[in-house]
Amino acid sequence: MTDHHSDIDSVTGKSTTGHEWDGIKELNTPLPRWWVISFYLTIVWSIGYWIVYPAWPLISSNTTGLFGYSTRADVAVELANLEKIRGAKMVALGAASLADIEKDLALLALARAKGKTVFGDNCAPCHGSGGAGAKGYPNLNDDDWLWGGSLDQIMQTIQFGARSGHAKTHEGQMLAFGKDGVLKPDEIVTAANYVRALSGLPTRKGYDAAKGEKIFAENCVACHGDGGKGNPEMGAPNLTDKIWLYGSDEATLIETISQGRAGVMPAWEGRLDPATIKAMAVYVHSLGGGK
């Protein structure tokens, strides 16, 4: 590199920076003064910033700045304000009965808005963000309810869950007829075809309806009721409709009858405050699935 002051470009007569690429040299055209001054000012500004605001991480803490300002404290204040604004509305929500909330369009909108966010945070992992469910996780948009679909029943389920271990939880178990040796494999196949027939699905060749009826009467009626209409008291699904939680094909049914089913829904009482649980119940009911 040459000393750029002595390196004069022969064409323009100006000094160059001395940088050279493939024989092309860069003219020394300084930045405008105002630009350079602004640049220095930003540096000065940033130093001031370090001093006034929290900036440098130390080993176990950080420099706190001159005034102890912290964005975290700011957020806390904002959140408190928000609570104050929302508080009154949530109190109104907590005071109203479930049925009244649904009839008051303003409360309904509030409950749906609140319910929707809480649902997204807590329920979506199992039931899907729109409540569409998945295999083994009920779709909350339809009209089939294991534990009942009235506002009160939905709220109860949210509060205490199903097989959750909570004292008031829904209990009820689908027995493992195959695993426990209650039914023989060919009887299970017959039972599977019987329940398919109940909801109008085709049965396999050689299926003996009379035998199916007998197996069902002896083993299943206790929970699923006469004719397989189900029983929300025990969470026993209706076997005559078009909705199947685990699937309606023969293989799935054989698996269900052989192994049993016992889906778990956690209890939300204690984890969510009562007004929020109320909002959730209204939200879920308004998804379209309520009865």
């Binding site: 649904e102 899907g128 308004s286």
Partner: protein
């Protein structure tokens, strides 16, 4: 642009010059004449509208703001006299922007950069700031002398400078103050501002606009027009040989010499121009250029050099408009001894006018016929469809009803499309089944969750259009929206 001038008479652009030039301070001299009068008039008009419009009242009835022009950000409304716009109607602003842009093109194709010279806020405020400066420090010569003098500052000079900057800041402050009044009820805000009750944001904005006005009009001035504004670059592409531009008619001006010399030469029967090289046109120019060098990017077409030169021409008894709004075509024609022609009606101007008329017409039409009742429908996406226990299909929609009128309405909702469909709105126990009704308060929206259920039989398609009609059962006004009913 068609350069019909003899190239030898025009200086070449200096491509070898420095990229950045330190600002040369311009000291425009005061002048008087037609264009100066037009500029004063337009300045008074523009500033008058800007400063006082927020105080104009408009009665919209109880509960609605009574300010004629108001940008109501918290409630997302824009009020302009009898017009009230909702966020859904931003396309009116799009239309307005299109009209504004094409109007600018039209102005440009008729009179060059006249927007810049007469109406641009930068010009208007800079002109005002110059007027203040002139009033306090005197005209061009005095200001130059005062700036150059190396005498120790006398008290008189200091007080002059302080006074000038105070008035500048005052104008800037008033400019910022007027700005925030457009976003709030003006009389209330003024009261709050003086009692320090106004929101912090208002003070911040006043501060910002005071600073920008002071800096842009007091210091940056013509630098904004030449270095910061994109318009001179664009307008060069929009102008054509018929566009009128402030032009030095060198067909009258060569050769330039003093009055006495010119008289002598004329007596000898020699060719001599009207320009007496008095530099008046340069002295008054707010961008500090010499228009006699031909069309230049810096020229904002303010016409002040026309006034200045006209005054000189009157004094020496030569015809006026040695500098005037003209184009190169005519200079060429005059040199060839032909009469100049001016063409305002041409393909370009006609098409611009047509676009303005079309867009403006559409806007006026839609504004006049727009409905004050509206409905938006959003289909649930997750899940798009649900199968019910009896095998039928249900789709859910979020329906938003907009009542833009000034009275509460009772709205009935119908849905049609899928065969044997039933509808249900969450929260409404329909008295009339399948035609739920709801009260939507004035100037507000209601969001509903609506379920459409239909059996598979008779609806074999995977997707069927479903039409939602909402009816004001009092006035019979109807609005509709269409979405789809889909099978899982």
């Amino acid at each position: 642009m068609n350069r019909t001038a003899n190239p030898k008479e025009l200086p070449l652009d200096d491509d070898n010059g420095p990229l950045y030039v330190a600002q040369k301070k311009v000291y425009p001299q005061s002048t008087s004449g037609t264009f100066r009068r037009i500029k004063w008039g337009l300045m008074a008009f523009c500033l008058g509208v800007y400063y006082f419009l927020p105080f104009v009242r408009w009665n919209r009835g109880l509960g609605a703001p009574s300010q004629a022009v108001l940008i109501d950000l918290p409630n997302s409304r824009f009020y302009f006299f009898f017009i009230e716009l909702w966020p859904q109607e931003v396309y009116y602003f799009t239309g307005l922007l299109i009209v504004a842009a094409v109007a600018l093109f039209l102005m440009n194709s008729v009179g060059g950069r006249i927007w810049c010279g007469y109406l641009c806020p930068q010009t208007v405020w800079t002109d005002l700031f110059y007027a203040v400066e002139r009033l306090i420090e005197g005209d061009r010569r005095e200001r130059m002398k005062k700036d150059k003098s190396s005498d120790p500052m006398k008290l008189e000079r200091i007080s002059e400078i302080v006074l000038k900057h105070s008035i500048w800041l005052l104008i800037g402050w008033w400019t910022g103050g007027a700005w925030v009044l457009y976003f709030n009820d003006a009389p209330t805000l003024v009261k709050e501002l003086v009692t320090f009750q106004a929101p912090m944001l208002a003070y911040v904005w006043i501060g910002i606009l005071t600073a920008t006005t002071y800096l842009l009009a007091g210091y940056m001035r013509e630098q904004v027009c030449t270095y910061m504004c994109p318009w001179p670059r664009i307008q060069a592409a929009l102008t054509d040989e018929w566009a009128l531009n402030v032009t030095y008619r060198y067909d009258r001006g060569e050769k330039r010499t003093s009055v006495k010399k010119a008289a002598e030469l004329r007596a000898l029967g020699q060719q001599v121009g009207d320009c007496v090289d008095c530099y008046q046109c340069v002295a008054v120019c707010p961008t500090g250029i010499d228009i006699r060098n031909g069309p230049q990017m810096e020229c904002i077409q303010c016409g002040l050099c026309i006034d200045a030169c006209d005054n000189v021409m009157t004094k020496i008894g030569r015809p006026k408009r040695l500098i005037g709004y003209d184009n190169d075509v005519n200079i060429q024609r005059r040199q060839e001894g032909k009469a100049p022609i001016y063409r305002i009606v041409r393909a370009r101007t006609v098409s611009y006018s047509a676009i303005i008329a079309a867009v403006g017409g559409i806007m006026i039409y839609t504004l006049a016929t727009r409905s004050l009742l509206d409905v938006n429908v959003l289909h649930d996406r997750n899940p798009v469809a649900v199968r019910l226990s009896d095998g039928s299909i249900r789709n859910a929609y979020t329906v938003r009803l907009l009542n833009k009128s000034g009275y509460d309405r009772v709205i009935a909702i119908d849905a049609s499309g899928p065969v044997n469909a039933t509808i249900h709105v969450i929260g409404i126990d329909s008295v009339t089944p399948d035609r739920p009704m709801i009260v939507v308060p004035r100037d507000s929206t209601s969001e509903l969750r609506l379920l459409v259920t239909a059996s598979v039989e008779g609806n074999p398609e995977k997707s069927i259009p479903v039409h939602f009609h909402v009816t004001d059962i009092g006035l019979g006004e109807v609005a509709s929206a269409t979405d789809n009913f889909v099978a899982p």
